[in-house]
């Protein structure tokens, strides 16, 4: 099997051996869960319950107000104790439903289908939408919306993203090993909905055991081996590596005839359509040099970070940073109060020594940032434009095409905050265009 890849990228310390061999353990629900109404890209869900309401597990507690949104369900049975703003892993306060666990784990009646592939396309789609499924690889785009491109678009490929290129994380790896059948079923269901002619699963070549496991069920589905390189799982890089196509600048994957979905999303789709189960739990890798017992958990959504870290034996020493997600694109947390959401694939704790910002030196134009940029930008120029508030120049040099993978900042020998300044430029460009159009 030949290994496919893209131009650019980096080879950070993957550190996946910490958890790659630890099977998924079910973490029981805490006494209270905090379920944010915003766990996806788009409009927040609107709460349908109020303080004092009794809820069953799997019951809708937040409705989607528009297509680019997703409903939210109760992960446990119990009583709503508050509907209020609570800290979110994104650093802000977000309207959340807080449920006290009654310990009964009583579920709503689930609508099961033993042979879900036979269902109509529309039925499958409505079940995906109703289950509140969003992209579980990190971005959280509502899956139903992503599976319904404009009618005139032809979808040649449905690509399942099993690259898991973020260092440290093994949640998708374990999922492919332990839920291989559901991955394949989910892929077939999604291909039926979006009308994809061909399904390809992309997996980095450091997960050959997952490849072997999936091949037991894959049939006509192709598995593409990918070079182990970050950001191989970036949507644009994955499409380029597997199909040779490029997503148009400022466009979407369907314009290249491709729909990409994460493998965890596929499992959620399979369970939603076959078992009638909404998205109320996910696999989370708890890992890092200062975590006592790094491992993988199946966690009810809404479980505070604190409970999950404790279940992994707590910290070996006071951490410098706690990150939700991976070390390249994850969000640093102010504390452990915020809950896990649908998109949280890992909790990573770094030591104090690893967490301090390094000393910044002048740019020596070594061009390593140019060589690693997977969208072929000139990060050193964009950084200078961002720093000098030259927004028009930043736009002309493609700042809006930046995927924020962080390779430039990672590789810089002068330890310059390249991506950070590119983000500043992007925000200013967006703000200026809003001002113009309003």
């Amino acid at each position: 099997m030949s290994v496919k890849t893209f131009f650019g990228g980096i080879h950070p310390n993957y550190a996946k051996e910490l958890t790659a061999a630890s099977p998924i353990e079910v973490l029981s629900a805490p006494e209270t869960v905090v379920v944010p109404m915003l766990q996806h890209i788009g409009a927040p869900a609107v709460p349908t319950v109020k303080k004092g309401d009794k809820v069953l597990a799997g019951q809708v507690i937040g409705e989607a107000p528009q297509p680019i949104s997703a409903p939210v369900h109760a992960p446990i049975s119990g009583t709503v104790v508050a509907v209020t703003d609570r800290p979110h892993i994104n650093g802000r306060s977000v309207l959340s439903v807080i449920i006290e666990n009654d310990g009964q784990n009583e579920w709503v009646e689930l609508d099961t289908h033993p042979d879900p592939v036979q269902l109509d396309r529309e039925v499958i789609l409505s079940k995906i939408r109703a289950a509140g499924i969003v992209g579980m690889g990190g971005a959280g785009f509502p899956t139903a919306a992503k599976l319904t491109p404009p009618k005139d678009a032809t979808i040649d490929y449905l690509i399942l993203n099993g690259a898991e290129c973020e260092p440290y994380l093994t949640a998708d790896h374990r999922l492919m090993l332990e839920y291989a059948e559901d991955v394949i079923l989910g892929a077939k269901l999604m291909a039926k909905v979006c009308g994809a002619k061909k399904i390809i699963i992309g997996i980095e070549d450091n997960k050959m055991d997952a490849v072997a496991e999936l091949q037991k069920f894959s049939g006509a589905i192709e598995i593409a081996l990918l070079d182990t390189k970050y950001p191989q799982g970036g949507e644009k890089q994955l499409i380029k590596a597997i199909t040779g196509r490029e997503v148009p600048s400022n466009g979407l994957p369907f314009q290249a005839g491709v729909v990409v979905q994460n493998v965890a999303t596929a499992v959620a789709v399979a369970q939603a359509v076959r078992d009638g189960k909404p998205l109320v739990e996910r696999i989370v890798t708890v890992t890092g040099p200062v975590i006592n017992e790094p491992r993988n958990f199946l966690v009810p959504i809404g479980t505070p970070l604190q409970n999950i870290v404790e279940a992994a034996g707590g910290f070996t020493e006071e951490p410098g940073k706690v990150i939700v997600g991976g070390p390249m694109m994850g969000m640093a947390q102010v504390g452990l109060e915020a809950p896990i959401v649908k998109t949280s694939n890992g909790i990573l704790a770094l030591s104090k020594a690893e967490s301090h910002e390094p000393n910044v030196m002048p740019c020596i134009k070594c061009a390593r940032c140019v060589d690693v940029c997977p969208v072929y930008l000139l990060p050193l120029r964009l950084e200078a434009f961002g720093m000098n508030e030259m927004w028009d120049e930043a736009k002309a040099y493609g700042a809006m095409d930046c995927i924020e993978c962080g390779c430039c900042t990672y590789i810089c020998p002068s330890k310059r905050p390249l991506l950070q300044y590119i983000r500043v430029a992007k925000n200013q460009i967006v703000a200026a265009s809003r001002k113009k159009s309003s």
Partner: protein
Amino acid sequence: MENLRLIVTPSPHVRDKDTTPNIMFAVLISLIPVAAASLYFFGFNALRLILLGGAAAVATEAIFQKVRGRQITISDGSALVTGVLLALSVPPTLPSWMIIVGSVVAIAIGKQVFGGLGHNIFNPALVGRAFLVASFAQPMTTWTGPFDTVTRATPLVVGAARSSLPDLFFGSVPGSLGETSVLAILLGGIYLFYKGIIDYRITLGVLGSAAVMSFLTGANPVFELFSGSLLFAAVFMATDMVTSPYTPKGRWIFGIGVGFLIMLIRTWGSLPEGVTYAILIMNAVTPLINRWTRPRIYGQGVHKS
């Protein structure tokens, strides 16, 4: 765990181990073979010039930064690299005070007046060298043979027919300190390439275009590449990160331009060697090359279906 004091910064949260001082240190290591060869062939003169050149460069940087009230950054190793490179590019009999003047000019005018590390347009060592050639033309073009102090013509003057290829390869010929031994230069170059510090496009561009040019002008390409400071410059001077293009295509153009200009000056110019000016000219057009060779961005020019 109640009172965690966590550090919050935007992603990415991990960094590569390599640092700019590490790069400068690696360049110094890569110069060990050529420095050793120069000590072997030219003895005490080599030691004298390398030590004085390096020390004067570091001292100039420190004094300049102190006077301007800036942070003193000599520990990043970049000034030492400049001083040693300059010393390795001068004849073994150059008087001590001249190498000191050269180092002062290299750092003060070549680097610090532009704003220090990363901001200079021209390769500082070559600015120093150009100054020395213009000011002290005779001592800068008087070479002695290896193992003696008798003035001799360099292979470039003698010509291909009367030069021995093994002598050129091992370095037993008259010339500037670091440029005589092809073997030592290749060792340093392989190390720099292995460490990811020099870009093959620039080095191959210089050597390739010089070879093609010598072929077209009827000269012997192997002799042209092995003699004078061409190879030394292709590996250590033209590849200076700060003063060469940062786009992949630009690095080819830069290298090809340097090789072309070297051969142009060697063949038709009145100077025996054209490496210094060839690189300085290409340094000057580097910002333009960068502007003209911006890579196509992913997804741009792609048809929306």
